[in-house]
Protein backbone atom coordinates (compact mmCIF):
# COMPACT_ATOMS: atom_id res chain seq x y z
CA UNK A 1 0.00 0.00 0.00
CA UNK A 2 1.22 3.48 -0.82
CA UNK A 3 1.58 6.36 1.57
CA UNK A 4 -1.74 7.19 3.25
CA UNK A 5 -2.54 10.71 4.36
CA UNK A 6 -5.46 12.80 5.56
CA UNK A 7 -5.81 15.58 3.01
CA UNK A 8 -8.13 18.15 1.51
CA UNK A 9 -9.29 17.32 -2.02
CA UNK A 10 -7.46 20.30 -3.46
CA UNK A 11 -4.23 19.34 -1.72
CA UNK A 12 -4.53 15.71 -2.77
CA UNK A 13 -4.89 16.86 -6.37
CA UNK A 14 -1.83 19.10 -6.03
CA UNK A 15 0.24 16.38 -4.37
CA UNK A 16 -0.79 13.92 -7.09
CA UNK A 17 0.35 16.41 -9.73
CA UNK A 18 3.82 16.58 -8.19
CA UNK A 19 3.97 12.80 -7.98
CA UNK A 20 2.77 12.37 -11.56
CA UNK A 21 5.83 14.27 -12.77
CA UNK A 22 3.83 17.18 -14.13
CA UNK A 23 6.05 19.78 -15.81
CA UNK A 24 4.07 22.97 -15.29
CA UNK A 25 1.18 24.54 -13.45
CA UNK A 26 -0.15 27.94 -14.50
CA UNK A 27 -3.05 29.32 -12.50
CA UNK A 28 -4.84 32.20 -10.86
CA UNK A 29 -6.29 32.14 -7.35
CA UNK A 30 -10.03 31.68 -6.85
CA UNK A 31 -12.03 30.14 -4.00
CA UNK A 32 -12.71 27.27 -3.43
CA UNK A 33 -9.54 25.93 -5.07
CA UNK A 34 -6.69 28.31 -4.21
CA UNK A 35 -5.10 25.56 -2.07
CA UNK A 36 -3.90 23.95 -5.29
CA UNK A 37 -1.63 26.81 -6.35
CA UNK A 38 -0.63 27.49 -2.73
CA UNK A 39 0.34 23.86 -2.17
CA UNK A 40 2.25 23.67 -5.44
CA UNK A 41 4.04 26.98 -4.80
CA UNK A 42 5.21 25.54 -1.48
CA UNK A 43 6.10 22.02 -2.56
CA UNK A 44 6.46 21.45 -6.27
CA UNK A 45 9.50 23.32 -7.57
CA UNK A 46 11.81 22.26 -4.76
CA UNK A 47 10.80 18.62 -5.12
CA UNK A 48 10.69 18.04 -8.87
CA UNK A 49 11.66 21.29 -10.56
CA UNK A 50 8.08 21.65 -11.78
CA UNK A 51 7.34 25.17 -13.01
CA UNK A 52 4.63 26.84 -10.92
CA UNK A 53 3.57 30.27 -12.09
CA UNK A 54 0.82 32.56 -10.85
CA UNK A 55 -0.50 34.11 -14.05
CA UNK A 56 -2.06 37.55 -14.37
CA UNK A 57 -5.45 36.00 -15.19
CA UNK A 58 -7.11 32.76 -16.18
CA UNK A 59 -6.97 34.01 -19.76
CA UNK A 60 -3.19 34.16 -19.54
CA UNK A 61 -2.97 30.89 -17.59
CA UNK A 62 -4.76 28.81 -20.22
CA UNK A 63 -2.61 30.33 -22.97
CA UNK A 64 0.55 29.55 -21.01
CA UNK A 65 -0.77 25.98 -20.93
CA UNK A 66 -1.18 26.15 -24.71
CA UNK A 67 2.45 27.20 -25.13
CA UNK A 68 3.80 24.60 -22.71
CA UNK A 69 1.59 21.79 -24.03
CA UNK A 70 2.72 22.71 -27.54
CA UNK A 71 6.26 21.82 -26.43
CA UNK A 72 5.02 18.34 -25.48
CA UNK A 73 5.09 19.04 -21.75
CA UNK A 74 2.63 17.96 -19.09
CA UNK A 75 0.93 21.23 -18.23
CA UNK A 76 -2.10 21.82 -16.04
CA UNK A 77 -4.26 24.42 -14.38
CA UNK A 78 -7.11 24.54 -11.91
CA UNK A 79 -9.80 27.10 -11.28
CA UNK A 80 -13.40 27.53 -10.28
CA UNK A 81 -16.43 28.53 -12.31
CA UNK A 82 -15.82 32.23 -13.19
CA UNK A 83 -12.18 31.45 -13.94
CA UNK A 84 -13.12 28.47 -16.08
CA UNK A 85 -15.42 30.74 -18.07
CA UNK A 86 -12.42 32.94 -18.86
CA UNK A 87 -10.52 29.90 -20.14
CA UNK A 88 -13.09 28.88 -22.71
CA UNK A 89 -11.51 30.62 -25.70
CA UNK A 90 -8.15 29.08 -24.89
CA UNK A 91 -9.67 25.63 -24.46
CA UNK A 92 -11.28 25.88 -27.87
CA UNK A 93 -7.87 26.69 -29.38
CA UNK A 94 -6.21 23.86 -27.43
CA UNK A 95 -8.85 21.36 -28.57
CA UNK A 96 -8.57 22.50 -32.17
CA UNK A 97 -4.76 22.48 -32.18
CA UNK A 98 -4.97 19.04 -30.54
CA UNK A 99 -2.80 19.68 -27.53
CA UNK A 100 -2.88 17.59 -24.36
CA UNK A 101 -3.50 19.25 -21.01
CA UNK A 102 -5.31 18.78 -17.73
CA UNK A 103 -7.53 21.22 -15.90
CA UNK A 104 -9.81 20.99 -12.91
CA UNK A 105 -12.96 22.98 -12.29
CA UNK A 106 -13.79 23.09 -8.59
CA UNK A 107 -17.33 24.16 -9.39
CA UNK A 108 -18.96 26.84 -7.21
CA UNK A 109 -22.47 28.26 -7.26
CA UNK A 110 -23.41 30.62 -10.07
CA UNK A 111 -24.29 32.26 -12.37
CA UNK A 112 -22.25 35.43 -12.07
CA UNK A 113 -19.94 35.78 -9.13
CA UNK A 114 -22.39 33.49 -7.36
CA UNK A 115 -21.23 31.84 -4.19
CA UNK A 116 -18.16 29.94 -3.08
CA UNK A 117 -20.30 26.98 -1.99
CA UNK A 118 -20.30 23.71 -3.99
CA UNK A 119 -22.44 23.39 -7.10
CA UNK A 120 -22.67 21.49 -10.38
CA UNK A 121 -23.99 24.26 -12.58
CA UNK A 122 -21.03 23.99 -14.96
CA UNK A 123 -21.98 20.51 -16.26
CA UNK A 124 -23.18 21.80 -19.63
CA UNK A 125 -20.12 24.02 -20.02
CA UNK A 126 -17.86 21.06 -19.22
CA UNK A 127 -19.41 18.34 -21.36
CA UNK A 128 -20.88 20.19 -24.32
CA UNK A 129 -17.74 22.05 -25.34
CA UNK A 130 -17.95 25.31 -23.42
CA UNK A 131 -16.14 27.55 -25.87
CA UNK A 132 -16.82 28.19 -29.53
CA UNK A 133 -16.91 25.50 -32.19
CA UNK A 134 -17.51 21.75 -32.24
CA UNK A 135 -15.16 20.29 -29.70
CA UNK A 136 -15.32 18.26 -26.50
CA UNK A 137 -13.30 17.94 -23.36
CA UNK A 138 -12.88 14.52 -21.84
CA UNK A 139 -14.53 15.06 -18.44
CA UNK A 140 -13.82 13.04 -15.28
CA UNK A 141 -16.03 13.46 -12.21
CA UNK A 142 -14.39 12.36 -8.94
CA UNK A 143 -16.61 11.58 -5.94
CA UNK A 144 -14.05 11.49 -3.16
CA UNK A 145 -10.62 12.80 -2.25
CA UNK A 146 -8.99 9.57 -3.45
CA UNK A 147 -10.26 10.20 -6.96
CA UNK A 148 -9.22 13.85 -6.80
CA UNK A 149 -5.70 12.41 -6.60
CA UNK A 150 -6.14 9.41 -8.91
CA UNK A 151 -7.62 11.37 -11.77
CA UNK A 152 -4.51 13.50 -12.21
CA UNK A 153 -2.44 10.63 -13.57
CA UNK A 154 -5.39 9.16 -15.44
CA UNK A 155 -6.22 12.59 -16.81
CA UNK A 156 -2.75 13.07 -18.29
CA UNK A 157 -2.74 9.56 -19.75
CA UNK A 158 -6.01 10.29 -21.52
CA UNK A 159 -4.91 13.81 -22.54
CA UNK A 160 -1.81 12.45 -24.25
CA UNK A 161 -3.58 9.41 -25.70
CA UNK A 162 -6.08 11.67 -27.46
CA UNK A 163 -4.12 14.94 -27.60
CA UNK A 164 -7.15 16.59 -26.09
CA UNK A 165 -7.81 18.67 -22.98
CA UNK A 166 -9.11 16.65 -20.03
CA UNK A 167 -11.16 18.27 -17.29
CA UNK A 168 -11.66 17.08 -13.74
CA UNK A 169 -15.08 18.42 -12.81
CA UNK A 170 -15.41 18.50 -9.04
CA UNK A 171 -17.08 20.93 -6.67
CA UNK A 172 -16.24 23.14 -3.72
CA UNK A 173 -17.01 20.44 -1.18
CA UNK A 174 -14.73 17.85 -2.80
CA UNK A 175 -12.01 20.46 -2.96
CA UNK A 176 -12.33 21.47 0.68
CA UNK A 177 -13.20 18.28 2.56
CA UNK A 178 -10.55 16.11 4.19
CA UNK A 179 -10.42 12.38 3.68
CA UNK A 180 -7.95 9.57 3.78
CA UNK A 181 -6.07 9.27 0.51
CA UNK A 182 -3.55 6.71 -0.67
CA UNK A 183 -0.94 8.62 -2.65
CA UNK A 184 0.73 7.25 -5.78
CA UNK A 185 4.52 6.81 -5.87
CA UNK A 186 6.71 9.70 -7.11
CA UNK A 187 7.36 9.54 -10.84
CA UNK A 188 10.29 11.23 -12.50
CA UNK A 189 9.72 14.16 -14.82
CA UNK A 190 10.80 12.97 -18.23
CA UNK A 191 11.24 14.87 -21.46
CA UNK A 192 9.67 13.06 -24.38
CA UNK A 193 10.23 14.36 -27.92
CA UNK A 194 6.90 14.23 -29.71
CA UNK A 195 6.98 14.63 -33.49
CA UNK A 196 4.30 17.34 -33.27
CA UNK A 197 5.84 19.39 -30.45
CA UNK A 198 7.62 22.68 -31.11
CA UNK A 199 11.00 22.31 -29.45
CA UNK A 200 13.09 23.80 -32.25
CA UNK A 201 13.02 22.67 -35.88
CA UNK A 202 14.69 19.25 -36.21
CA UNK A 203 18.02 19.36 -38.06
CA UNK A 204 16.89 16.80 -40.61
CA UNK A 205 13.17 17.30 -40.62
CA UNK A 206 10.25 19.59 -41.25
CA UNK A 207 9.37 22.48 -38.99
CA UNK A 208 6.45 21.92 -36.63
CA UNK A 209 3.47 24.25 -36.64
CA UNK A 210 0.80 24.28 -33.96
CA UNK A 211 -2.29 26.03 -35.19
CA UNK A 212 -6.06 26.06 -35.18
CA UNK A 213 -6.33 28.21 -38.28
CA UNK A 214 -7.44 26.62 -41.54
CA UNK A 215 -8.86 29.14 -43.94
CA UNK A 216 -9.98 26.58 -46.54
CA UNK A 217 -13.44 25.28 -45.53
CA UNK A 218 -12.62 21.79 -46.83
CA UNK A 219 -9.49 21.67 -44.69
CA UNK A 220 -11.37 22.97 -41.64
CA UNK A 221 -14.06 20.36 -42.18
CA UNK A 222 -11.39 17.70 -42.37
CA UNK A 223 -10.05 18.86 -39.00
CA UNK A 224 -13.57 18.75 -37.59
CA UNK A 225 -14.08 15.23 -38.90
CA UNK A 226 -10.83 14.14 -37.31
CA UNK A 227 -11.91 15.61 -33.98
CA UNK A 228 -15.28 13.88 -34.23
CA UNK A 229 -13.58 10.52 -34.93
CA UNK A 230 -11.52 11.09 -31.81
CA UNK A 231 -14.62 11.78 -29.71
CA UNK A 232 -16.23 8.64 -31.10
CA UNK A 233 -13.18 6.62 -30.12
CA UNK A 234 -13.47 8.08 -26.61
CA UNK A 235 -17.09 6.92 -26.53
CA UNK A 236 -15.97 3.44 -27.47
CA UNK A 237 -12.93 3.14 -25.22
CA UNK A 238 -13.12 5.53 -22.28
CA UNK A 239 -16.59 5.28 -20.74
CA UNK A 240 -16.32 4.80 -17.00
CA UNK A 241 -19.09 4.47 -14.42
CA UNK A 242 -19.92 2.73 -11.18
CA UNK A 243 -23.12 0.89 -10.21
CA UNK A 244 -24.75 -0.60 -7.11
CA UNK A 245 -27.77 -2.82 -6.58
CA UNK A 246 -28.73 -2.99 -10.24
CA UNK A 247 -29.65 -6.71 -10.15
CA UNK A 248 -33.03 -6.39 -8.48
CA UNK A 249 -33.52 -2.64 -9.04
CA UNK A 250 -36.95 -1.28 -9.88
CA UNK A 251 -35.77 2.32 -9.63
CA UNK A 252 -32.42 4.00 -10.26
CA UNK A 253 -30.86 6.93 -8.48
CA UNK A 254 -28.21 8.58 -10.59
CA UNK A 255 -25.89 11.45 -9.80
CA UNK A 256 -22.27 12.44 -10.36
CA UNK A 257 -19.52 13.66 -8.06
CA UNK A 258 -20.34 14.56 -4.48
CA UNK A 259 -24.08 14.15 -5.01
CA UNK A 260 -23.65 10.51 -5.98
CA UNK A 261 -22.56 9.83 -2.39
CA UNK A 262 -25.67 11.51 -1.03
CA UNK A 263 -27.76 9.61 -3.56
CA UNK A 264 -26.15 6.37 -2.39
CA UNK A 265 -27.18 7.15 1.17
CA UNK A 266 -30.69 7.96 -0.04
CA UNK A 267 -30.75 4.60 -1.83
CA UNK A 268 -29.80 2.82 1.42
CA UNK A 269 -32.55 4.66 3.31
CA UNK A 270 -35.01 3.76 0.55
CA UNK A 271 -34.05 0.09 0.67
CA UNK A 272 -34.74 0.12 4.43
CA UNK A 273 -38.26 1.22 3.50
CA UNK A 274 -38.54 -1.60 0.99
CA UNK A 275 -37.95 0.25 -2.27
CA UNK A 276 -35.72 -1.65 -4.67
CA UNK A 277 -33.42 1.18 -5.69
CA UNK A 278 -30.22 0.84 -7.71
CA UNK A 279 -27.48 3.41 -8.26
CA UNK A 280 -25.46 4.59 -11.24
CA UNK A 281 -22.62 7.06 -10.99
CA UNK A 282 -21.18 8.31 -14.29
CA UNK A 283 -17.43 8.81 -13.83
CA UNK A 284 -16.77 10.06 -17.34
CA UNK A 285 -19.33 12.78 -18.04
CA UNK A 286 -17.98 12.99 -21.56
CA UNK A 287 -17.99 10.36 -22.96
CA UNK A 288 -21.31 9.77 -21.17
CA UNK A 289 -22.10 6.19 -20.09
CA UNK A 290 -25.06 5.97 -22.42
CA UNK A 291 -25.22 2.19 -22.78
CA UNK A 292 -25.75 1.30 -19.13
CA UNK A 293 -28.67 3.74 -18.93
CA UNK A 294 -30.20 2.36 -22.13
CA UNK A 295 -29.84 -1.16 -20.70
CA UNK A 296 -31.41 -0.58 -17.29
CA UNK A 297 -34.14 1.57 -18.80
CA UNK A 298 -35.59 -1.63 -20.30
CA UNK A 299 -36.27 -3.14 -16.89
CA UNK A 300 -36.82 -0.38 -14.30
CA UNK A 301 -39.90 1.69 -13.46
CA UNK A 302 -38.04 4.95 -13.38
CA UNK A 303 -34.82 6.89 -12.92
CA UNK A 304 -34.34 9.77 -10.51
CA UNK A 305 -31.45 12.05 -11.45
CA UNK A 306 -30.14 14.24 -8.65
CA UNK A 307 -27.82 17.21 -9.22
CA UNK A 308 -26.72 20.46 -7.66
CA UNK A 309 -28.09 22.48 -10.57
CA UNK A 310 -31.37 22.97 -12.39
CA UNK A 311 -31.12 19.70 -14.31
CA UNK A 312 -28.23 19.32 -16.71
CA UNK A 313 -26.93 15.75 -16.72
CA UNK A 314 -30.56 14.66 -16.75
CA UNK A 315 -30.69 15.69 -20.40
CA UNK A 316 -27.97 13.15 -21.21
CA UNK A 317 -29.79 10.52 -19.17
CA UNK A 318 -32.98 11.18 -21.13
CA UNK A 319 -31.11 10.99 -24.42
CA UNK A 320 -29.63 7.68 -23.31
CA UNK A 321 -32.92 6.06 -22.27
CA UNK A 322 -34.73 7.57 -25.23
CA UNK A 323 -38.17 7.38 -23.66
CA UNK A 324 -37.81 3.74 -22.54
CA UNK A 325 -38.51 4.63 -18.91
CA UNK A 326 -39.64 7.55 -16.82
CA UNK A 327 -36.86 10.01 -15.90
CA UNK A 328 -37.37 12.56 -13.14
CA UNK A 329 -35.09 15.19 -11.72
CA UNK A 330 -34.47 16.59 -8.29
CA UNK A 331 -31.92 19.33 -7.69
CA UNK A 332 -30.75 22.13 -5.45
CA UNK A 333 -28.92 25.17 -6.72
CA UNK A 334 -26.71 28.08 -5.79
CA UNK A 335 -24.51 26.18 -3.36
CA UNK A 336 -27.24 24.28 -1.48
CA UNK A 337 -26.40 20.59 -0.97
CA UNK A 338 -29.39 18.19 -0.90
CA UNK A 339 -29.78 15.74 2.00
CA UNK A 340 -30.49 12.01 1.60
CA UNK A 341 -33.82 12.48 3.38
CA UNK A 342 -35.08 15.15 1.01
CA UNK A 343 -34.00 13.07 -1.99
CA UNK A 344 -35.95 10.08 -0.70
CA UNK A 345 -38.95 12.22 0.15
CA UNK A 346 -39.03 13.62 -3.39
CA UNK A 347 -38.56 10.14 -4.82
CA UNK A 348 -41.59 8.95 -2.87
CA UNK A 349 -43.62 11.93 -4.03
CA UNK A 350 -42.71 11.39 -7.67
CA UNK A 351 -42.67 7.62 -7.99
CA UNK A 352 -44.46 5.96 -5.06
CA UNK A 353 -47.37 8.14 -4.01
CA UNK A 354 -48.19 9.03 -7.58
CA UNK A 355 -48.18 5.36 -8.54
Amino acid sequence: MGEVKLMKGNEALAEAAIRAGVDAYFGYPITPQSEVIEYLSREATKRTGMVVLQAESEVAAINMIYGAAGCGKKAMTTSSSPGISLMQEGLSYIASAELPCLLANINRGGPGLGTIQPAQGDYFQAVKGGGHGDYRLLVLAPYNVQEMADFVKLGFELAFKYRNPVMILADGALGQMMEKVELPPQEQRVHIEYPWATTGKPKNGERRVITSLHIQPEKMEEINLRLQRKYKQMQEEEVRYQTKNLDDAEYIFTAFGLVSRIAMKAMDLGRQRGYKIGWIRPITLFPFPTKIFAEVAQRVKGILDIEMNSGQMVEDVKLAVSGATRVEFYGRMGGVVPTPEEILENFEKMFIKGE
Partner: protein, 264 residues
Protein backbone atom coordinates in the same frame (compact mmCIF):
# COMPACT_ATOMS: atom_id res chain seq x y z
CA UNK B 1 14.18 42.89 -78.19
CA UNK B 2 13.91 39.24 -79.16
CA UNK B 3 16.18 37.02 -77.14
CA UNK B 4 17.41 33.91 -78.85
CA UNK B 5 19.55 32.46 -76.16
CA UNK B 6 17.86 32.87 -72.77
CA UNK B 7 20.40 30.68 -70.97
CA UNK B 8 23.26 32.98 -71.80
CA UNK B 9 21.30 35.97 -70.54
CA UNK B 10 20.35 34.25 -67.27
CA UNK B 11 23.93 33.21 -66.68
CA UNK B 12 24.94 36.78 -67.13
CA UNK B 13 22.38 38.07 -64.67
CA UNK B 14 23.07 35.54 -61.91
CA UNK B 15 26.73 36.36 -61.61
CA UNK B 16 27.48 36.76 -57.88
CA UNK B 17 28.65 40.33 -58.38
CA UNK B 18 25.24 41.21 -59.81
CA UNK B 19 23.32 39.74 -56.86
CA UNK B 20 21.05 42.30 -55.21
CA UNK B 21 18.69 39.95 -53.36
CA UNK B 22 19.03 36.58 -51.80
CA UNK B 23 16.29 34.77 -49.93
CA UNK B 24 17.64 33.55 -46.59
CA UNK B 25 17.53 29.76 -46.28
CA UNK B 26 15.34 30.24 -43.20
CA UNK B 27 12.56 31.82 -45.25
CA UNK B 28 10.43 29.32 -47.17
CA UNK B 29 10.33 29.66 -50.94
CA UNK B 30 6.62 30.46 -51.20
CA UNK B 31 4.55 33.43 -52.25
CA UNK B 32 3.75 35.80 -49.38
CA UNK B 33 0.10 36.74 -48.87
CA UNK B 34 0.96 40.25 -47.68
CA UNK B 35 -0.21 43.20 -49.75
CA UNK B 36 2.39 44.69 -52.10
CA UNK B 37 4.68 47.04 -50.24
CA UNK B 38 3.62 45.88 -46.77
CA UNK B 39 6.27 46.11 -44.06
CA UNK B 40 5.41 42.65 -42.73
CA UNK B 41 7.25 41.08 -45.68
CA UNK B 42 10.37 43.15 -45.07
CA UNK B 43 10.45 42.33 -41.37
CA UNK B 44 9.96 38.62 -42.08
CA UNK B 45 12.92 38.67 -44.40
CA UNK B 46 15.36 40.51 -42.19
CA UNK B 47 14.38 38.57 -39.10
CA UNK B 48 14.93 35.29 -40.91
CA UNK B 49 18.28 36.63 -42.09
CA UNK B 50 19.23 37.22 -38.48
CA UNK B 51 18.14 33.69 -37.56
CA UNK B 52 20.21 32.33 -40.45
CA UNK B 53 23.28 34.40 -39.62
CA UNK B 54 23.15 33.49 -35.93
CA UNK B 55 22.72 29.81 -36.87
CA UNK B 56 19.76 29.33 -34.54
CA UNK B 57 17.14 27.93 -36.90
CA UNK B 58 16.93 24.70 -34.88
CA UNK B 59 16.86 26.46 -31.54
CA UNK B 60 14.11 29.01 -31.91
CA UNK B 61 10.35 28.83 -31.46
CA UNK B 62 8.03 31.57 -32.65
CA UNK B 63 4.53 32.65 -31.72
CA UNK B 64 2.25 34.14 -34.36
CA UNK B 65 -0.98 35.55 -32.91
CA UNK B 66 -4.07 36.67 -34.80
CA UNK B 67 -3.45 39.61 -37.11
CA UNK B 68 -2.17 39.90 -40.68
CA UNK B 69 0.96 38.01 -39.67
CA UNK B 70 -0.84 35.04 -38.15
CA UNK B 71 0.42 33.13 -41.19
CA UNK B 72 4.05 33.94 -40.39
CA UNK B 73 4.49 30.20 -39.86
CA UNK B 74 3.86 29.66 -43.56
CA UNK B 75 7.01 31.65 -44.32
CA UNK B 76 9.41 31.36 -41.43
CA UNK B 77 11.08 27.98 -41.56
CA UNK B 78 11.21 27.49 -37.80
CA UNK B 79 8.97 25.74 -35.26
CA UNK B 80 5.98 27.95 -34.55
CA UNK B 81 2.77 28.18 -32.58
CA UNK B 82 -0.22 30.21 -33.66
CA UNK B 83 -1.85 32.04 -30.76
CA UNK B 84 -5.27 33.49 -30.02
CA UNK B 85 -5.68 37.25 -30.54
CA UNK B 86 -3.70 39.03 -27.84
CA UNK B 87 -2.28 35.97 -26.13
CA UNK B 88 1.15 35.72 -27.73
CA UNK B 89 3.06 36.76 -24.61
CA UNK B 90 1.21 34.21 -22.47
CA UNK B 91 1.87 31.45 -25.02
CA UNK B 92 5.52 32.50 -25.27
CA UNK B 93 5.76 32.42 -21.47
CA UNK B 94 4.56 28.82 -21.53
CA UNK B 95 7.13 27.90 -24.16
CA UNK B 96 10.08 29.73 -22.64
CA UNK B 97 9.40 28.40 -19.14
CA UNK B 98 9.46 24.87 -20.57
CA UNK B 99 12.45 25.39 -22.87
CA UNK B 100 14.59 28.09 -21.23
CA UNK B 101 17.59 27.23 -23.40
CA UNK B 102 15.77 27.90 -26.67
CA UNK B 103 15.20 31.26 -28.30
CA UNK B 104 11.57 32.36 -28.23
CA UNK B 105 9.92 35.25 -30.05
CA UNK B 106 6.47 36.64 -30.67
CA UNK B 107 5.43 38.62 -33.72
CA UNK B 108 2.51 40.89 -32.85
CA UNK B 109 0.45 43.68 -34.34
CA UNK B 110 -0.49 46.79 -32.37
CA UNK B 111 -4.06 45.65 -31.76
CA UNK B 112 -2.81 42.30 -30.58
CA UNK B 113 -0.03 43.60 -28.37
CA UNK B 114 -1.47 46.82 -26.97
CA UNK B 115 -5.27 46.41 -26.98
CA UNK B 116 -6.67 42.92 -26.50
CA UNK B 117 -3.32 41.60 -25.31
CA UNK B 118 -2.21 44.62 -23.29
CA UNK B 119 -2.43 42.74 -20.01
CA UNK B 120 -0.47 39.74 -21.24
CA UNK B 121 2.24 41.98 -22.73
CA UNK B 122 2.52 44.14 -19.62
CA UNK B 123 2.79 41.21 -17.24
CA UNK B 124 5.22 39.23 -19.39
CA UNK B 125 7.35 42.39 -19.48
CA UNK B 126 7.03 42.86 -15.74
CA UNK B 127 8.02 39.27 -15.05
CA UNK B 128 11.05 39.87 -17.22
CA UNK B 129 10.20 36.93 -19.43
CA UNK B 130 13.34 36.25 -21.38
CA UNK B 131 12.00 36.43 -24.94
CA UNK B 132 11.79 38.81 -27.87
CA UNK B 133 8.63 40.62 -28.85
CA UNK B 134 8.56 41.94 -32.41
CA UNK B 135 5.89 44.61 -32.39
CA UNK B 136 4.58 45.78 -35.76
CA UNK B 137 3.02 49.19 -35.26
CA UNK B 138 1.05 50.06 -38.40
CA UNK B 139 -1.44 52.27 -36.55
CA UNK B 140 -4.46 50.25 -37.71
CA UNK B 141 -6.06 46.84 -37.53
CA UNK B 142 -4.81 45.41 -40.79
CA UNK B 143 -6.40 41.99 -40.88
CA UNK B 144 -9.93 43.16 -40.12
CA UNK B 145 -9.59 45.92 -42.73
CA UNK B 146 -8.52 49.12 -41.14
CA UNK B 147 -10.24 49.82 -37.85
CA UNK B 148 -8.70 52.09 -35.23
CA UNK B 149 -5.83 50.60 -33.22
CA UNK B 150 -4.50 51.74 -29.85
CA UNK B 151 -1.62 53.26 -31.83
CA UNK B 152 -3.76 55.16 -34.34
CA UNK B 153 -2.55 58.74 -34.08
CA UNK B 154 -4.65 61.78 -33.29
CA UNK B 155 -6.82 62.83 -36.20
CA UNK B 156 -6.03 59.73 -38.24
CA UNK B 157 -8.97 58.43 -40.25
CA UNK B 158 -9.83 54.75 -39.92
CA UNK B 159 -13.08 52.85 -40.52
CA UNK B 160 -14.02 53.22 -36.84
CA UNK B 161 -12.69 56.76 -36.53
CA UNK B 162 -14.14 58.04 -39.82
CA UNK B 163 -13.83 61.68 -38.68
CA UNK B 164 -10.33 61.17 -37.34
CA UNK B 165 -9.27 59.83 -33.96
CA UNK B 166 -10.56 62.14 -31.28
CA UNK B 167 -8.57 61.54 -28.08
CA UNK B 168 -11.39 63.03 -25.98
CA UNK B 169 -13.63 60.06 -26.67
CA UNK B 170 -11.26 57.48 -28.18
CA UNK B 171 -8.22 57.84 -25.98
CA UNK B 172 -4.69 58.81 -26.91
CA UNK B 173 -2.36 56.83 -29.12
CA UNK B 174 -0.58 54.42 -26.83
CA UNK B 175 3.21 54.31 -26.70
CA UNK B 176 3.59 50.83 -25.30
CA UNK B 177 7.37 50.80 -25.48
CA UNK B 178 7.66 53.90 -23.31
CA UNK B 179 5.03 52.45 -20.98
CA UNK B 180 6.97 49.29 -20.16
CA UNK B 181 10.54 50.58 -20.47
CA UNK B 182 10.79 51.61 -16.77
CA UNK B 183 9.93 48.09 -15.56
CA UNK B 184 12.96 46.33 -14.05
CA UNK B 185 12.15 43.11 -15.94
CA UNK B 186 12.47 44.87 -19.27
CA UNK B 187 15.96 44.71 -20.77
CA UNK B 188 15.69 46.33 -24.15
CA UNK B 189 13.14 48.57 -25.83
CA UNK B 190 13.79 50.11 -29.19
CA UNK B 191 11.68 51.67 -31.92
CA UNK B 192 12.67 51.18 -35.54
CA UNK B 193 11.09 51.35 -38.99
CA UNK B 194 11.37 49.62 -42.36
CA UNK B 195 10.35 52.47 -44.68
CA UNK B 196 13.88 53.21 -45.96
CA UNK B 197 16.91 51.07 -46.70
CA UNK B 198 18.79 52.66 -43.83
CA UNK B 199 15.94 52.00 -41.42
CA UNK B 200 15.71 48.39 -42.58
CA UNK B 201 19.41 47.93 -41.74
CA UNK B 202 18.93 49.46 -38.30
CA UNK B 203 15.91 47.27 -37.60
CA UNK B 204 17.88 44.17 -38.51
CA UNK B 205 20.65 45.20 -36.13
CA UNK B 206 18.10 45.76 -33.35
CA UNK B 207 16.58 42.31 -33.88
CA UNK B 208 19.99 40.73 -33.68
CA UNK B 209 20.88 42.62 -30.52
CA UNK B 210 17.61 41.54 -28.90
CA UNK B 211 18.38 37.87 -29.58
CA UNK B 212 21.87 38.33 -28.19
CA UNK B 213 20.40 39.83 -25.02
CA UNK B 214 18.05 36.87 -24.82
CA UNK B 215 21.02 34.53 -25.04
CA UNK B 216 22.57 36.40 -22.11
CA UNK B 217 19.31 35.95 -20.21
CA UNK B 218 18.79 39.68 -19.70
CA UNK B 219 14.98 39.62 -19.87
CA UNK B 220 12.14 41.06 -21.89
CA UNK B 221 13.12 42.67 -25.20
CA UNK B 222 10.70 44.69 -27.32
CA UNK B 223 11.57 45.72 -30.86
CA UNK B 224 8.83 48.02 -32.08
CA UNK B 225 8.76 48.55 -35.82
CA UNK B 226 6.78 51.47 -37.17
CA UNK B 227 5.30 49.95 -40.30
CA UNK B 228 2.79 50.67 -43.01
CA UNK B 229 -0.54 49.34 -44.19
CA UNK B 230 -0.90 50.62 -47.74
CA UNK B 231 -4.13 48.71 -48.31
CA UNK B 232 -6.05 50.10 -45.38
CA UNK B 233 -4.41 53.51 -45.51
CA UNK B 234 -5.54 53.53 -49.15
CA UNK B 235 -2.11 54.61 -50.37
CA UNK B 236 0.47 53.31 -52.79
CA UNK B 237 3.44 51.61 -51.13
CA UNK B 238 5.59 54.70 -51.73
CA UNK B 239 2.95 57.07 -50.36
CA UNK B 240 2.63 54.84 -47.32
CA UNK B 241 6.38 54.89 -46.69
CA UNK B 242 6.30 58.66 -46.91
CA UNK B 243 3.40 58.71 -44.44
CA UNK B 244 5.50 56.63 -42.05
CA UNK B 245 8.33 59.11 -42.45
CA UNK B 246 6.39 62.36 -42.28
CA UNK B 247 3.45 61.59 -40.01
CA UNK B 248 4.05 58.51 -37.88
CA UNK B 249 7.73 58.84 -37.02
CA UNK B 250 7.31 62.38 -35.65
CA UNK B 251 4.82 60.93 -33.13
CA UNK B 252 6.74 57.66 -32.69
CA UNK B 253 10.38 58.79 -32.78
CA UNK B 254 12.88 56.10 -33.73
CA UNK B 255 15.75 54.97 -31.57
CA UNK B 256 16.55 53.05 -28.41
CA UNK B 257 14.27 53.66 -25.45
CA UNK B 258 16.07 51.35 -23.04
CA UNK B 259 19.34 49.52 -23.51
CA UNK B 260 20.83 47.09 -21.01
CA UNK B 261 24.27 47.61 -19.56
CA UNK B 262 26.28 44.70 -20.81
CA UNK B 263 29.51 43.80 -19.08
CA UNK B 264 32.08 43.02 -21.72
Amino acid sequence: MAVDNVDVLVEDVVKPENLVYRRPSTLLDVELHYCPGCGHSTVHKIFMEVVEEMGIQNDIIGVAPVGCAVFAYNYMDVDMQQAAHGRACAVATGIKRMLPDKFVFTYQGDGDLAAIGGNETLHAANRGENFLVIFINNAVYGMTSGQMAPTTIEGMVTTTSPYGRDPKTMGWPLKFGELIAPLPGVAYVTRQAVNTVQNVRRTKKALQRALEYQKMGLGFCLVEIVSNCPSNWKMTPIESNNYVQNVLIPYYPLGDIKVPEVKK
